[in-house]
């Protein structure tokens, strides 16, 4: 059983209240931070090796050290709580169960960055979580951990929660900043990066909920200790939201480095595939990352056990690997139709493209339409190559990574499950039976 640094007390009765949270060691990290210099706090986070938990995995300490600090200009820390990636639901859990953990992380982080005003931008649909956070923030103000002169340290901070604009794209950090400024959530062209010109054109750090929460255990135990957990450059613990055809879907906090096979099959974690069925494929890091068939998710192309780490999951690049992404772990059993699933994902990206840049605006719709055709038995062999080609035309040529997020799953599905696409073309009658799925030469209805 691995250590739990974030969710250790998650089942304690009343942990969402300030009093109980405090009794279980809450706000010690803030007290500790306020006795350090801001630079020392940044240094601890650097030493911890913490990598961003929002999807890209960029080292958090490094990001913090890049923040521009012009004299007399305010800076901001913005928490990205827009969590909308299909398959990912860890931040919601963390915030609703442990609101004070995020608030504590926000205070320590804001202090480290020299921010006097900070924001939590939360997905608009999570209104009940927003209420939980607001209540917790009010408690923190009352206890003197927010507002003027926190705990007599001379440091002051205001923390606001802002409901999101109701679009997946508002989770992209620059779209988020636009939306927070009260504008339409269109991603910005970069450069300039938020570290130089972010919120209100001021230097800004945007971090995922879990990245900010992880600062609390890092400060409590020290960056060096934290870095000892995990494997290689994947340090610490990470939340995975496991869903799909598993016996025990849910949120799991893992020390990075657990073998994928153990995560899926051991009773400590997901407890295997439901209904005694076979695993067919996994999308390991939220809907944007490449899908892998069973053989490649359990073992790398070189035959090594795949681990739940940034490096191991991306071993083999996009040819035989995938990405850890946001930790949305979607398992699919043998009854899953990959073509239908790919179409379903692409429907999502078509719906969520902001429409600013031509390759993504037009390409996501095109992909969806052709995949719809293939799934419904009206496609041709040529269409299979067409979707790959359209995906390639989007990839790398857009303003923000949503274009790639739409393109990668399609390219990967065809790469690993081409025969299944072809079967939809050659056997349209069978393929369109309700519940039909391709299994080599067998057809299951």
């Amino acid at each position: 059983m691995g250590r739990k640094l974030l969710t250790e007390h998650v089942n304690v009765e009343g942990i969402e209240t300030f009093a109980v949270y405090r009794k279980h060691g809450g706000y010690r990290a803030v007290e500790k931070a306020l006795k350090m210099t801001p630079e020392e706090v940044v240094e601890e986070v650097k030493k911890s090796g913490l990598r961003g938990r929002g999807g890209a995995g960029f080292p958090t300490g490094l990001k913090w050290s890049f923040l521009a600090k012009p004299e007399g200009v305010p800076r901001y820390l913005v928490c990205n709580a827009d969590e909308s990636e299909p398959g990912t639901f860890k931040d919601r859990y963390l915030m609703s169960k442990l609101p004070h953990l995020l608030i504590e992380g926000m205070i320590a982080g804001s202090y480290a960055l020299g921010a006097r005003t900070s924001y939590i931008y939360i997905r608009g649909e999570l209104l009940y979580v927003l209420r939980i956070l607001e209540k917790a923030i009010a408690e923190a103000y009352a206890a003197g951990f927010l507002g003027e002169n926190i705990q007599g340290s001379g440091y002051s901070l205001d923390l606001h929660v802002h409901p999101g604009g109701g679009a997946y794209i508002c989770g992209e950090e620059t779209a988020l900043l636009e939306s927070l400024e009260g504008k339409r959530g269109n991603p910005r062209n970069k450069p300039p990066f938020p570290a130089v010109q972010g919120l209100y054109a001021r230097p800004t750090v945007v971090n995922n909920v879990e990245s900010i929460a992880a600062v609390v255990p890092i400060l409590n135990m020290g960056g060096d200790e934290y870095a000892k957990i995990g494997v290689g450059k994947s340090t610490g613990t990470k939340l995975f939201s496991a869903c799909g055809h598993l016996n025990k879907p849910g949120i799991y906090e893992l020390e990075l480095g657990v073998p994928v096979e153990e995560f899926i099959y051991s009773d400590e974690y997901c407890g295997g595939i439901w209904k005694g069925r076979e695993l067919k494929a996994v999308v390991a890091g939220g809907s944007s990352v490449p899908i892998l068939p069973k053989e490649l998710i359990l073992k790398t192309a070189a035959g090594e056990n795949r681990l739940m780490t940034y490096e191991s999951l991306s071993d083999g690049g996009f040819v035989t690997g995938t990405m850890l992404g946001s930790g949305g772990f979607i398992a699919m059993d043998e009854t899953t139709c990959i073509v239908k699933n790919t179409w379903n994902f692409s429907r999502f990206y078509h719906h969520e493209s902001c429409g600013q840049c031509s390759p993504c605006r037009e390409g996501t719709g095109w992909l969806e339409k052709v995949l719809h055709r293939l799934e419904h038995g009206h496609g041709s062999m040529h269409d299979i190559d067409l979707v790959v080609s359209v995906a390639k035309q989007i990839e790398g040529n857009t303003i923000c990574p949503l274009g790639e997020a739409a393109a990668w799953p399609v390219a990967a599905a065809v790469r690993h499950f081409r025969d299944e696409f072809e079967w939809h073309v050659t056997h349209p009658k069978e393929a369109t039976q309700p519940g039909a799925v391709y299994r080599g030469n067998l057809v299951m209805a």
């Binding site: 840049c357 031509s358 390409g363």
Partner: protein, 341 residues
Amino acid sequence: MAKITFDGIEVEVPDGTTILNAARKIGGSVVPPAMCYYTPLKGSGGKCRACLVRVAAGSAKDPRPMPKLVASCITTVQDGMVVENTTSQQVMDVRKGIVEMLLINHPLDCPVCDQAGECDLQNFAYEHGVSTTRYEEERRTFEKIDIGPYVQLHMTRCILCYRCVYTADQLTDGRVHGVLGRGDASEIGTYIENTISNDFSGNVIDVCPVGALTDKTFRFKQRVWFTKPVNAHRDCGHEKCTGHVTLWYKGKDVLRVTARKDEYGEVKEWICNECRFEKKETSDWTIEGPAHIDRSSVISANHYELPVINPQVIADLPESTVRELERNPPLKLGGPSGNSF
């Protein structure tokens, strides 16, 4: 100042210049197409991706290539930067892809479109597109909308360049945005109607690269290449209007009035609605003479002119580059239409 090499041609420009404007200083066929960037409009650019180029070396200090193609309209030059446009097969291929994307939902009703002959999309497709389509699906359509008495919005032809949005935003007060919906269901918001009645609303017609915003007083009157552009001015009382315009004649009649555009289709001086829509008699104007015609215009010649390198810059170029240029003019354009340029 920063010295960059663009398609093998050296050019020196002030720091902070964009790659696109550096290329425009060279001129001719090396200039990347720009469907959304518009110099006078703050914040424009970066959206259509037509102007993507390859940065083969970032700067003299850091000569690594940039990992992705960059939008030349918003990327600033660095001293020692090496940029490939028409000399990169990757750029040409990607550009072909962009044309395709812009066309899949486009009606291509050029025969009945007032923009035909002066349409950036037509030119772009002509220069970089392919002659067949891989798109079999139904195309997106919208109803035509009259926005005010003078302008019609034909959203089906819109390429969402946002130029009209910036124009309305920057020329008129109290307006923030004009795009509703998202993805390929985005449309120019009809609440533009609220502001389109102001004195400068007609300028959205001039900035629109396609036939999505057209002049209702000119609709279906004439194909533009049968009209003759003449520069003229009048003493316009409006404080923001210079009264410098182009009149488009058919015989003795002024069929329409537009702002003057430079060779990249950009308006330098905005004009008011009175000059544009109400003054259609020769006696309203002081005539200056025939207007300069766009480099790739079909208006007078009925064919695409051969692009030229800006001679002014040639004089400043190193001897070696000039020799190289003479030997190997940078007119290579990929695609089946490349030779007809």
